[in-house]
Amino acid sequence: MKKRMLVCTLLSVVLGIGALAPAAMAGEASTEAASAGSPVDTIYVTDGSEDAMELNTAKVGTLAGMSACRHLYEGLYKLDENGDLVLGQAAKEEVSDDGLTYTYTLRDDITWSDGKPVTAGDFVYGWQYLKDSAGDYSSIMDMVKSAEATDDKTLVVTLNYPCSYLASILAFPSSYPVRQDIAEAAGDAYATDPDKAVYNGAYELTDWTHQQSLTLTKRDDYYDAGKITVGTINWELMSDSATMENSFVSGDVIYSDSYNTEDVDSLTGNGLHFTSGYNTYCVMFNLGDNGPEVLKDAKVRKALSLAIDRDRIISIRNVNDTLASTYSPEGLTNADGVEFNSTVEPYFSDDYEANCEEAKQLLADAGYEDGKDFPALRYIVNNDTRKTDAEAVVADWKDVLGIDSITVETVDNFFAARADGDYDLAYFGWYMDYPDVSNMLYTMTTGQNDAKYSNTDYDDAYNAAISEADQAKSWESFDKCESILAEDVPVAPILHSQSGYLFDDAGYSGLVYYCGNAFFGYVTQNA
């Protein structure tokens, strides 16, 4: 620290920078002064860039934005210090026998950061505001038929179908309450600066230096303030993964949600953590009107899927992925701890040689023996890492099936190109928003996927699953969805990627990490 101070001072004088900011230095000093396992006055973290930092809960669609929103606002449910879902702004939940009506009684001691009480009407307004805002998650509460504030503290929610994952949704930022007077006064600028929103979470936003940092300050009037151990969170906004990694390695920040994947080996044991990414990384086939005829044949799609040497791709990537033999990722468990994956028939055997033989036969049956006359196809991706992965997949297709007419291309504005069907094959990866099977399988229902895949049997099975209150029966229907995908192959699952992040666990504990969202309020400093 002394060395840094000396160099800073010298260079500042030389370059005319002026006085060093005393407040920031005081923050650093008090962090160091904290005792073992103790609360922390100030922490520095980096999670996302400015464009990811959307703090309007109705519009937020990025992991970093959602992480910040989880600090500033709170729903009927929240994450506790163990990462479990517990009641948040609600004191009590009552469910009708048919599982269609939920009555929530709000806590008496909940307030907004301007001192006004949080009311049931704020939830009703927030949910309507969500629908009207055209955000990425505007339809996430479509299971809610109606929501009524019978008085300031009572919220009656009627559902279209029994929803086993309702608690996950009610802890999700899109379901948080919104103050009508504040949102209407700010208009499109709502939540774009600290004074353009009020907060009902553990923290309030006290500064937002755009493109640089957020300052989140603990609210002493938050009902559960006693459990919140971090006073101020300085949340730096960075876009360059090398800068983020260097900030972590140099000790400037204690958490970074990004790092250079080529540095995995040096970071392992030095703060790099992997956790279930609730993700499946696939090759998507364009089955729409713009898609090539050759891919309309399920035999061809299945052959392409079987010929991928998934273990090799995983070893090339070297970021702790696991092999995907189903569309749904691992980690989705029921109350007894049973993995949903274990109930699903894998799409292919674990004997790669046998899979290759089957793939060759399927391709020959489709009329392209040894890849002969296979048309030229364009496989689009959105960055260089995925281009490397895609090229490895294409190499398998050449080696195993003799197909040498597929080219990989990194395209600008990738998501628009894929949504518009301007591709033959494309990268597709879905990061789940909450750990429930429905969130994954929803992405293959009609109208919800860029493969333009549509199968009424699949849709029926999906709708049956989400309408079923009994989880065992619900999973039976989800199993059927998986079997249909195994036959139709609108996507070829390759691997389940892990969420990787850097956290200084030598110095700190208590980070809550949930589906790519980080919550820092329970962090304490180690001995």
């Binding site: 060395k3 505007s138 876009s239």
Partner: protein, 307 residues
């Protein structure tokens, strides 16, 4: 009205016309870019369509252009669609330009204070030790790309020595961005000043001054230096505009909340209003700086006219 005032007014009108042309070309080029600002992994077609309608992007491009010009004439540059969603473009420009300019002014001052005197020294000692040293330093400084300088500085001072913070927002955080911003112009100014002073030193009028018995100091400082500054002033105009608006590399790597990052990021994100905001701002600055340079020429050398 004097002839000079008339010429200045003519130049200002031409500058306004140039700005109009730049806005028009940029607007229509922007329309040719594939995609739109509202695409994301999780956005549905429905929400994308609602946003496109909301911001009038479903209208013919000529209608959008007319509306943009009308709003611009009334001082309304719109709000950002992507990078700072919902925030006023003027506010974004003002905030980020203040940061870029603060760094840029310092980088510019160091560039001039170091580059011009060292260039003079090199020119006056042509072929000797100081000249060789300046030429090597300037060649190296010009050749190394900014991102390499930034990465090396960060590796040495932040990661290894832990002496300076990576991010601009921390105490001492402006040191490395200033060095990266100042590196190229400093070295370029060295070379430019050296070449310019060598050219002037060979001029006949300086021989005449010497023949008249003037001291070497007066010849150099009163006559040679003044005239050798014209190419330097020519370079300083666009340099000032460019350095004040920040640099993409320095700002991205050191997390500086300046204007420079928007030159690339606004286009990648298809943040139309921000692309136009940056274009209008930068074009105005460049045109103004060129105009100021033209006027400065005339002061330095009255034989040059604004025509």
């Amino acid at each position: 009205m004097s002839v000079r005032a008339g010429r200045i007014i003519k130049r200002i009108l031409l500058a306004a016309l140039s700005l109009f042309a730049i806005i028009t070309v940029t607007f229509f080029l922007m329309d040719l870019l594939p995609g739109d600002p509202f695409m994301s992994e999780k956005a549905t077609e429905e929400t994308r369509a609602i946003l496109i309608r909301k911001y009038g992007l479903d209208k013919p491009v000529i209608v959008q252009y007319g509306k943009y010009l009308w709003n611009l004439l009334h001082g309304d540059m719109g709000t950002s669609y992507v990078l700072q969603k919902g925030r006023d473009i003027r506010t974004i420009m003002t905030e980020s330009f203040a940061v870029s300019a603060s760094l840029g002014v310092r980088a510019l001052i160091y560039s001039i204070l170091i580059g011009v005197p060292l260039g003079c020294v090199a020119g006056l000692f042509k072929g000797k030790g100081p000249d060789g040293l300046v030429r090597v330093v300037s060649a190296v400084g010009i050749s190394i790309p900014g991102y390499v300088v930034a990465a090396v500085l960060m590796l040495v001072f932040s990661v290894k020595l832990k002496a300076l913070p990576v991010s601009y927002g921390r105490p001492g955080g402006s040191v490395m961005p200033i060095i990266v911003l100042a590196m190229y112009p400093t070295c370029y100014l060295m070379r430019l000043t050296r070449a310019s002073i060598l050219e002037v030193l060979g001029q006949d009028y300086l021989k005449t001054e010497r023949a008249k018995g003037m001291s070497e100091l007066i010849v150099i400082f009163k006559h040679a230096l003044k005239n050798s500054l014209i190419p330097v002033i020519t370079y300083l105009g666009p340099l000032t505009a460019s350095i004040l608006t920040g640099g993409f590399v320095a700002e991205s790597v050191f997390n500086v909340p300046g204007l420079g990052r928007y030159f690339v990021n606004a286009i990648s994100a298809r943040d139309y209003t921000l692309i136009m905001g940056v274009t209008v701002f930068y074009a105005t600055l460049i045109i103004t700086m060129n105009l100021v340079c033209d006027i400065l020429y005339q002061i330095v050398d009255p034989r040059i006219t604004l025509d």
